[in-house]
Symmetry: D2
Subunit: 436 residues, 4 copies
Amino acid sequence: MNSAVAEHAHARAADSTAQRQASLATRLAQTRAATVALLDGLSPEDCQIQSMPDASPMKWHLGHVGWFFETFVLSEHAPGYQSAEPAFRELFNSYYVGVGPRTPRAQRGLMSRPAFDTVFRYQQRVLDQVLVLMHDRTLPDALLDTIELGINHEQQHQELILTDLKHHLSCNMLLPAYRPEPRTPAGVWPQDKVAYPFLRVDAGLRQIGSPDAGFAFDNERPLHRVWLDAYEIGARPVLNGEYLAFIRDGGYRRPEFWLAEGWDVCVRSQWQAPLYWLDTGDAPQLFTLAGVQPLDPFEPVTHLSYFEADAYARWAGASLPTEAQWEVAALALAPWRDGGFVESQRHHPHPLHTLDEKRLGGDVWEWTQSAYLPYPGFETAAGAVGEYNGKFMVNQMVLRGGSCATPRSHIRPAYRNFFPTCTRWQFSGLRLARQV
Amino acid sequence: MNSAVAEHAHARAADSTAQRQASLATRLAQTRAATVALLDGLSPEDCQIQSMPDASPMKWHLGHVGWFFETFVLSEHAPGYQSAEPAFRELFNSYYVGVGPRTPRAQRGLMSRPAFDTVFRYQQRVLDQVLVLMHDRTLPDALLDTIELGINHEQQHQELILTDLKHHLSCNMLLPAYRPEPRTPAGVWPQDKVAYPFLRVDAGLRQIGSPDAGFAFDNERPLHRVWLDAYEIGARPVLNGEYLAFIRDGGYRRPEFWLAEGWDVCVRSQWQAPLYWLDTGDAPQLFTLAGVQPLDPFEPVTHLSYFEADAYARWAGASLPTEAQWEVAALALAPWRDGGFVESQRHHPHPLHTLDEKRLGGDVWEWTQSAYLPYPGFETAAGAVGEYNGKFMVNQMVLRGGSCATPRSHIRPAYRNFFPTCTRWQFSGLRLARQV
Amino acid sequence: MNSAVAEHAHARAADSTAQRQASLATRLAQTRAATVALLDGLSPEDCQIQSMPDASPMKWHLGHVGWFFETFVLSEHAPGYQSAEPAFRELFNSYYVGVGPRTPRAQRGLMSRPAFDTVFRYQQRVLDQVLVLMHDRTLPDALLDTIELGINHEQQHQELILTDLKHHLSCNMLLPAYRPEPRTPAGVWPQDKVAYPFLRVDAGLRQIGSPDAGFAFDNERPLHRVWLDAYEIGARPVLNGEYLAFIRDGGYRRPEFWLAEGWDVCVRSQWQAPLYWLDTGDAPQLFTLAGVQPLDPFEPVTHLSYFEADAYARWAGASLPTEAQWEVAALALAPWRDGGFVESQRHHPHPLHTLDEKRLGGDVWEWTQSAYLPYPGFETAAGAVGEYNGKFMVNQMVLRGGSCATPRSHIRPAYRNFFPTCTRWQFSGLRLARQV
Amino acid sequence: MNSAVAEHAHARAADSTAQRQASLATRLAQTRAATVALLDGLSPEDCQIQSMPDASPMKWHLGHVGWFFETFVLSEHAPGYQSAEPAFRELFNSYYVGVGPRTPRAQRGLMSRPAFDTVFRYQQRVLDQVLVLMHDRTLPDALLDTIELGINHEQQHQELILTDLKHHLSCNMLLPAYRPEPRTPAGVWPQDKVAYPFLRVDAGLRQIGSPDAGFAFDNERPLHRVWLDAYEIGARPVLNGEYLAFIRDGGYRRPEFWLAEGWDVCVRSQWQAPLYWLDTGDAPQLFTLAGVQPLDPFEPVTHLSYFEADAYARWAGASLPTEAQWEVAALALAPWRDGGFVESQRHHPHPLHTLDEKRLGGDVWEWTQSAYLPYPGFETAAGAVGEYNGKFMVNQMVLRGGSCATPRSHIRPAYRNFFPTCTRWQFSGLRLARQV
């Protein structure tokens, strides 16, 4: 390369870095606005409750989002940065052992101090300072990477804010609504069996995962090859009407459909329907973020554990797809729904009634038959941020797709969500698959 | 009786009832004012936290106090009474099976709705309506009895508000103070052994319990005879300095001082000192409602379980008194401290430093060696209010005296407090006794 | 006293000691024979099972009985004694912290080694050596006291052998019998209500407990005075026919009869009848040590927890007696049944069908309303043997009387048995009482 | 095909079936002999103990082996078969819901009846009757398949008999030996680092699993293709000397090496070394089936949970292999050790001291990084026998290889063993792998 060319290339790279930095600053501001918008209609009391160890209070989510930017961006990279709230380094650390002590997970709801306003201002100030840093200087790529990770991290917490809130409201005997909404009458499930539509995918050596360029979480990498035998996969998620037939066929009383561990959990927990179903009789009702509503048989079924999804699939003579089957089929299943309650004008997040044949993403996370394990060649980042995903790669299953509560930019074919097999408080559903 | 006399007697009784009614109305208003005063400096967030199943949020305490008057006074006796908050009948029922369903005990902290202000206004309005009822009509004695019970019930919750608050603040990594206060330097425990002062009580057939006339809880009745052999009882509670000697003599490592069940609990719970002691080294510290403070060796030791109190007594070559021994000695031990943080000008409740020889009440509840069981001839009231005390008479021990957090009028010789043997979050201490 | 008289007195005391020693040697041999007789029909496999932490394997009971004599008699008092099985000092120590480490209680069933025969021979040899010691020398009174304690200790384990065996057989799906026996048809409970017979006892200052002279467990001492108001007490235990009426009146579904903690246990444990009742329908059946048998309505009800006994009493408009009420009434209730399966020719232990009006002891242990606490002036013995009873004096209730599985010499008015409130595997029943 | 050829083919198939039947009968007899040989030196008491819910008593294993042949062979296929022990259908059913009720898993140790001899004779008689059936008639292929499954099933229980026995002996304070053996002095681990030998495997599309022909468990099928990137895999398992270095480098105190869930388990369970290590100081000792022995640094490390194996791998800068990596490498790693304690003349099962560079199978099961999930196209058999493997395919990890306690014929490349991540009582170790 002669020097003129090299100079030109360098300038172009600088341009591109500057553009990226500007674009990230905009996204950071937008993300923050979206987080703040979620708080509409919530009081400090609403924001303090932790209804189970798996869930966290809104106040904690806010503090933790600020903590992430402070710990991994400002403390390490902003010259002379002094935290206004040094105690928050422990209070709002989630699970980063490398950063130090932290509030025990089950005690996140016991913090009446700091007050909500203090935490809110802390989070706002931290994000302001990140914006100032981005305005004042040209930041190295690695730091921009961390900021982009922080934005995506905040978006993950946006979804958790909604699912954790739904759970805590459901524990209240009043069953209060987050955003009340009158509901149009639901459709009626046809007497005749509704065929479940399958698409065929041919055998072949495929590639899955996220490329090195562009943003992705570490667990989506590296891009790698997998061999897939020919299979069929559902064109849409399983719907409430279909799931109700499973229930009425004794699905929750017949061990032959269940994994052994799942059956134990089902009996011990006295499951009789998905979480938030209030009744399975003639007029089934659901608890939603808009309050108690009649069940719509054309909505995708949601709030299933892995065990329920798997039992349904066996009852239906099919199985859950593997994550590779799912990802490879994703292109064929486009166009996607964009979910994105967070960015949309929708009133509250809930899967949508539909008659569409093809449908992917934006309604429910879909359980796959794949355990959450490292891809071949997976590597964690250096330092505490390397604890982000890798240390959870055991005894969990992968979910794909993205739900009605998932930010739009998190809905992509390669995205790997993961939860333990008993989890039901996420918007989790399923799609069938079968070997050809 | 001739009719003039009868008329006179009737008029006098009416006068006396009228006076009683007026007096109760005043006490009701004062009690409410004392409850409200406890909230000074607390936010709605502070009032929502439940740090363990045994404790309740302030908001719940408030709602429950209102619920008690609404359920047992207004709903049954105020003509045409309609609750403004019918759902509260379930939300704020504590344990009265006869009244119907209720929020599960461990989920009292999951109510962000109703908001604190709603609950506060509810409780105020209910008490206002009771006052209106008392102003408008002459109420029958039985109803005045229920109102008097309601006042005493509210006072019990005043104490619980303070101990529950202390526990929840102690779970916060920040160890925040309810009412911060600079503390004068503590005294120094003398090198020489401080003699523990005993008083002698002669043998005899004694009477304990509360008479039928005047207010008392049902569990204090009936008045009945007990035979007591001669005994000695401490003139004051055991002090921190004395308890520290027990700790330093290996008290928490030597099973020979402990009941078998107590030793199991001690090992399993890794107890090394009373609850809220942060350190037992050269400069021991306590968590108090005024924040972290140096330990004062002349204060009565507090936040002990029954097992610790009993182990200390055995180490000291003595025992805990029975409740009859305690009650009979109470007159000899007068004058009492009046405790009464709730009514006093003190800044926060904590046992007081003292050099007095004789001292009873107003510092700590004192564990006795008596199980909480019905007195001979004990009877419960008809209806749901009969569940007040009787159904808890098993597997608990009686405490006597009254603590720094106890309302003044609850400090009386016959008062029976009771808790399970592992309980430590109350202001519980001990006094020694021994057989002659 | 002149010297002749003194000599005479001394000789008489010596005579009496010699007689006592001879008599104890005989009792020791008899007790051992009775223990061995219990093993008839049991295999080493039968003797190894521990069906719950509260129960122990027969093999362990045998080893522990030997251990007690070895530890407290031979090791301390037999000159030059060397244990043939030094490891047994740890293996068969029950709960004596002062003696050293021990097999954890819940792991007593995990000892396949030593083999049953080894343990049996050990126990026999130890008792032989105690007999040799008693033959060879005149032993001091204190040592004879310990031997007498050892005999009574062995008898307590005879009862536990039977109740632990019953429990373990009941866990076997085959419901095998210890000693099968054809059973005569049970009586039929009369249509008309059977009156429950009460005896009246006048008020007065009474004396209860065991005198210093003669054998008694430490927890029965000292003899002391108690004041009792006038009361009535049942002339016989409550019978199956009566208890069945409680069940059929919804006794296990109506919380108003239960202590709060008892109701929680009842719901959580899904109790619907006493332990070992297989059915409460038209033809109720029991599991007994003679196998499954039809329920006889005239037998005393047994295998009740304290909570069930207390709930029954409340349903019947009465209460449980206190232990003082029970003990004072015991003389009036004589003659006693002698229970004593162990010494008798009966085929297997079970409460007896009866139509007698007056009946005490030998059928079931009777729950009292008294917590198990030290008597005034109670003192423990020095050394590890002092751990015998005292350290369990908390959170248990006293039972009085003695059951069909109780050795005859354990049936006396002052005897205090004790168990936690949930206990059901003992032969435990009840007798009613009421205040006059 | 003309008819002569067809006839010939048919005759050849018949020959081959007859040969197969004869060969299976021989194997059945050999397998039974091997099972009986395991009982040498064990008493009925030894055979009854269940030391934890995961383990089973020897007596139960025997009964269950008989039960399997009775239920799936005799009851369904032997004309007029009547069980001599009909109750055993419930007693010895392990987990086959389709067969009916069964002894709860945690209560398998509570069966003193039937006696060991009864169960032993039952198992012998059932196997005799299967042999008679095989002698008397020509059985259809499907039934021979079931008999072959039964033989393999019995072999699996042979291994469990050994590991369950080891666990129960380890719970005995005496630490008794199954087969005592004097032990030659262990080698000394060299001061210099011992290089861990890796073999390289090239990338490619490979085939794993078991073919349809010949015996294999259903979970090994179908044969299917997988893509593998190039990798390296250890030529031998990790040795005690290497693992000791991990311990001494703080392996059990440094969370950075552990999966999050593993670290929680490690802390909560107070793990400080593999199971059965009695000491990690200067002279480490192990509990083995030959009693307590000095640790040999050249033996493969064993009794590791998945979490410990994974943490070691991370500490060593490597990872665990996937099951596909392991299986593909297996040919390169041949010749294998044949393990096979059961068939061998070895005195007791324990991994062997070795200096060999290449070593596979016969020492320890090796944890892989693969979750136990169905292969693509996996299908279960019809009927209850279909519950054999499939219903456990969740929340477990695959182990490969075969241990010192594994029957010889179970050591094959495609064999998939599986256990939950906390499991330590199997002979489980590890081999390292790394991406190229």
